[in-house]
């Protein structure tokens, strides 16, 4: 399943980059993130509670940052499995300068869902994916607003 979303943040690109790579803040914006622990640099063990409506699962897996081209792009890979199945996503995250304090984040993602949720929950799958990306962007916004002092 391919997803493409973008969002404009009212911060400079450097600040956005920092927020996206600051490990103390990642737990804030990863959707449903209950626990985040570094395994090695740029690789984390994560516990994420995600879903829509009554269909929720606690997914245990990893979050990986790679192919960094600071400050303009990197890839974010997330995978997790739980009783309802597994989710796997790889996103190319591109940060475009719109203005000094305006940055457009373009997410080009390839997501895969498997297991129970994919076989019996087909009606919910694309909805959940969209929901997650919305949450992701809303969480980043929230994180920027609550701790505006994060600067390069």
């Amino acid at each position: 399943m391919k997803l493409q979303v973008e969002h404009v943040f009212q911060v400079s690109r450097d600040v956005l980059w920092q927020v996206l790579h600051d490990q103390t803040r990642m737990a804030d914006w990863i959707p449903g993130c209950e626990k985040l622990e570094e395994i090695e640099p740029d690789r984390f063990a994560a516990t994420m509670k995600i879903g829509v409506g009554a269909i929720k699962g606690t997914y245990k897996g990893t979050v990986q940052i790679a192919e960094k081209q600071e400050p303009s792009q990197y890839t974010l890979a997330v995978e997790g499995s739980a009783a309802p199945g597994f989710v796997r996503g790889k996103a190319l995250m591109k940060l475009h300068v719109e203005d000094a304090n305006v940055t457009r984040l373009v997410i080009d993602a390839d997501a895969q869902v498997g297991g129970l949720i994919a076989s019996v929950g087909q009606r919910f799958v694309s909805g959940i994916a969209k929901q997650l990306t919305r949450e992701l962007l809303a969480n980043i916004e929230q994180s920027l607003r609550s701790k505006p002092e994060a600067t390069a």
Binding site: G53, A54, R123, V125, G127, I128
Partner: protein
């Protein structure tokens, strides 16, 4: 597949039910008709540790009319609506729409409250609620609150209802006697979830010009939506075929549906427009024929 094990309670009053929800919180689910919940439990997609069966709360099954509104108890079965002369007289749109829900067997068990709170993005009742600016009453430990449909639906399968609340009543305005209506949906098979559906209401003046238009679309968004552009376009116009087709075209530009195993986004978009035109045609016909009848 079999569900995970759960505790089962069958309260006989709303207060008992709310108390149980308070006690068990997030892990409790209400069992009404079970037509959506039970399959999800059997698939283990949903794993409540506790089921609060509200089917014994007799007080929650009723259809009353008061102040030009229909008050419908939350565990009223769809089948009760489709066999009710009161509903047929007061709200033809509701009467027509409810017959499109699944099959008779499903409608015999499924409830009005259950369907609306389940908030399936392709369901008929949420669209009807939207078309008619209906409301929903929720009861929790802190008391009751009445919410408009706009504030109720958040996204797919999600409303603002708290885990400790129960929906106890749906409030739907009567249709004006001068109104025409139609519910038009497209399904692959008889009784399926709609690929897309349109609830249309038209009111005209003595010169057959549109004075009010409601178009609620289901199946093209995470929640039911009102096609406000198309609605505004119709008001003040005489309802020729060209006008109705233009309204349909506007709806297809307003909606942004998803692709899934049943239909592509483009097809759904197109379908929403085509169904809008068809729904409007029937609504206009009804409007005119009701006028003729009144004039006799």
């Amino acid at each position: 597949m079999k569900p995970v094990s759960f505790d089962y309670f069958a309260p006989t009053t709303v207060n008992e039910a709310v108390a149980l929800l308070e006690e068990h919180g997030d892990d409790a689910k209400i069992l009404a008709g079970g037509q959506s919940l039970v399959p999800m439990m059997n698939f283990r997609l949903v794993r409540p540790t506790c089921l609060v069966d509200i089917n014994q709360i007799r007080d929650l099954a009723y259809i009353h009319e008061k102040d030009d509104r229909l008050h419908i108890g939350a565990i009223t079965r769809h089948r009760d609506l489709e066999t009710s002369t009161l509903v047929q007289q007061c709200n033809g749109l509701l009467f027509e729409g409810v017959q499109l829900i699944g099959h008779t067997a499903i409608r015999t068990r499924g409830t009005v409250g259950g369907s609306i709170i389940h908030a399936d993005p392709t369901a008929e009742l949420p669209a009807i609620l939207a078309a008619l600016d209906g409301e929903v009453r929720l009861i929790g430990p802190k008391g009751q609150r009445t919410i408009s449909w706009r504030d109720l639906f958040v996204t797919f399968f999600t409303t603002v209802i708290e885990p400790v609340e129960i929906c106890d009543e749906i409030i739907i305005p009567k249709l004006p006697s001068s109104a025409g209506w139609a519910f038009e949906e497209f399904t692959r098979r008889h009784g399926d979830f709609a690929v897309a559906g349109v609830a249309a209401v038209i009111v005209t003046d003595n010169n057959d010009r549109c004075t009010d238009a409601r178009l609620a679309i289901t199946g093209t968004a995470p929640t039911p939506i009102r096609a406000t552009q198309a609605e505004s376009f119709l008001v003040g116009k005489s309802l020729t075929q060209t006008t109705l087709e233009e309204a349909g075209r506007l709806v297809s530009t307003e909606v942004e549906p998803e692709s899934d195993v049943h239909a592509t986004a483009n097809y759904r978009q197109h379908l929403a427009g085509a169904l809008t035109t068809r729904a409007l045609q029937r609504a206009v016909e009804r409007c005119l024929s009701r006028k003729d009848q009144r004039e006799k």
